[in-house]
Amino acid sequence: MNASGKRLTLILLMAPLLIWLVALIVIPHMEILYVSLREKVGVREYEFGFANYMVFFNEPLYWNTFMRTAVMSILATALTLLIGFPVSYYIAKLTRGRSKTILFLLCLIPFWVSELVRTYGWMILLRESGLVSGFLQYIGLASEPIEFLYNDAAIMVGLVYTSMLFMVVPLVTTLDSLDDSMIEAAYDLGGGGVSVWREIVIPHAMPGIVSGCIIVFMLSLGNYLTPILLGGKDSLWFTGLIYSQFITRFNWELGAAFGMLLLVLSSTIVWAGLKLSGQTLTRTVGR
C-alpha cells in the first residue's frame, strides 16, 4: 500500500476516536472556557474579562471549599490504597483459578447497581434509625440511637467504597505481572517481609498504584452524589458548588470558571503527585 493510502487508513481508523474527542471533550471545554471569560455586567449584557476567576481567588469560601475537596479526596485516595493494596495482593498472589475470579467478581458486584442505590445503601446502614446504630444498641454498646450519617467520616466511607474497584483493578493487574520467583528470590537473598515489600512488591506495583490513585483521586474530586447524600449539612464539595452555580444560581459564567479551575487545579495536583512519586504519565498509563 502506498503512503497516502496508509495515511487514509490511519485517518479512517482514528476518525471515531477523534470525533469523540473533539465533539465531546474539546468543543465543550472550549465552550466552557468561553463562557467562563464572559463577565456579566447587566441583564443580557456581557463583556470579556477574568472577573469570574477573580471571584474564586477573592472569596475565601470557594478557595476553602476547593482545598477541603482536594484534601478529602487525597485522604480518600490514601485510604482506598491502604485498604485496596492488601486486597489486591491477596487476589493477585495468594489465590488461584476459580477463587480468584470469584473474589474479583465480588469487588465488581457493587457496581452492578447504580451509584445512587449504593449510596442509599450506606444511608440505610448509617442513619440514626439504621442498622449499625440498631446493632450497637442491641449488643448493648450504645444506650440510645447514634447518628453516623451527615459528617465527613460518612463521606469518606462512601468515597472509599465507591472508588475501591478502580484501585483494585490496576493493582491486581500490576501485581499479577510480578513474577512469584521475584519475591522468592528476595527472600532467598535474605530479605524479610518488610524489605521484600518495600524494595520489590511496592516498586513493582508503583505504576498500578499511581494509575489507581489518579483514577480514585479524580473520581473523588468529581464525585457529586456521595458528598451531598452522605455529608448532609457538612456536604460542602467543589462539584456541588459548580452544580449550584449552573443549576440553581443560573450563573453559568461563574460555574464555567469553577469548572476550568477544577480542571487546572486537579491536573496540577496529579502532576505534583507524579513528580513526588517519581513516575511519569507515559509509564503508568503505558503499561
Binding site: M182, A186, D188, E199, I200, P203, M206
Partner: protein
Amino acid sequence: MAEAVNDLDCRDISKNFAAFKAVRDVTFSVPPGTFFSILGPSGCGKTTLLRMIAGFLEPTSGDLLIKGRSMLDVPPNKRPVSMVFQHLALFPMMNVGANIGFGLRRRGVAKAEIAKRVEAVLERVGLPGAGPRGVDELSGGQKQRVAIARCMVLEPDVLLLDEPLGALDLKLREHMKIELKQLQWEFNTTFVYITHDQSEALVMSDQIAVMNHGVFEQVGTARDLYYNPETAFVAGFVGESNRFAGKVEEAGGGTLKVRTPSGLPLMGTAAAGSLAVGDAVDVFVRPEAVRLSPTSEGVAGQPNVSSGLVDSVLFNGANSRVLIRDAATGGEIDVALPQTGEFHSLKRDDPIHIGWDTAQTLCFAAAGEGS
C-alpha cells in the same frame, strides 16, 4: 582433623502434595566443591526437591542438612543457600549493583563495603563496572552472570540453580555451559543444578543424579551413567539408544540370548541384577556401538549381526546418523555415522551390514509399569 563434612545431606526426604508423592525417600550427599546435577524429565520431582533445599517447601518427612546442620526449622532467608531462578528473577526496578547488593544490604553490611564487594564479584564474573547499568540493558549471558554474582556475593555454602539455561538460545546455552563450569571452579562453591537437558548435566557435572517419579534412579559421574546405566530408565534417558523389547532365551556365563517379538536374536549382557530364561527384558544399544560395513565380511565375527537398507542419512557434521531398515524384521536401527570418510557417499536404499558387541548390548528386566 575432623572428618570432612558434606555441604549438603538429604536423608530420606519425601514430599507429598495431597495423595501425590512428588519426592520419595531421596537420600544423597554432596561433598564440598562439587558440581552436582539432578537430571530428570519434567514432573520427576526435581524442582520440588530443589525448593525443599532452598526452603520454599517443607519436606513431609526426612531431614536436610547443610554443613552438618539441620535446616528443617530455618526459613529460606536464613539458610546458607542461594538460588538462581529459572528466569533469573533479577529485580527490574534496580540496577545491576543494587541487585547484587540486595542480600548484603539485608545483612546490614556498610555501604562502602557493599560497593567494594559488589565490584569485586562483578569482576570475577567478568562484568567489571557494570554496577550502574540497568538490568534490561544486559544480554542473556550477562544477566546469567549477574544472577550468579548476586548469589555468590553472599558466599553461600550451596548454590542452587533451577534450569537457568533453559531460556537461552542454543548457541549461548552451549557457551554458558562451559562458563558455568568455570565459574563453579573459580568460586569453588558447591553447585546443585537441576535440568532436564542431559547434555548440560553431562558436560558440567562432577556428579549426576538421574531422577524419575520422585526417586533417584542412579547417582554417579557422567561416564558411569553413560556406560554403566543401572536401570532401564537411565539407559534410555541418558544418551541415545536403540531400544528393543524381548524375552531371555538362554542365560549363562554372563551372556544372554534374547529374542525380540519379530524374531531377531540378540546377544547381550545383564546390566543390573541377574536375569533368567523367560524374563521379559528391555535391550539398549548405543548408536555409536554399532559398526557399519558395505559387506557382510566387514561385520563377520560380531556376536550380533544384521543387514538392511539405508532408510535415511541424517547429516549433522560430527553427529551424523544413519537410519537403517532391518531386512529381517523391518525395524529401524539408529547408527552413528563414522567420520572416517568410508561412508561419505552413503545414500538412501544402499544395502548395508551392521554388527555390534555383546558387552554393548545392555539388558534390563522390563519395567512392570506402563511407562
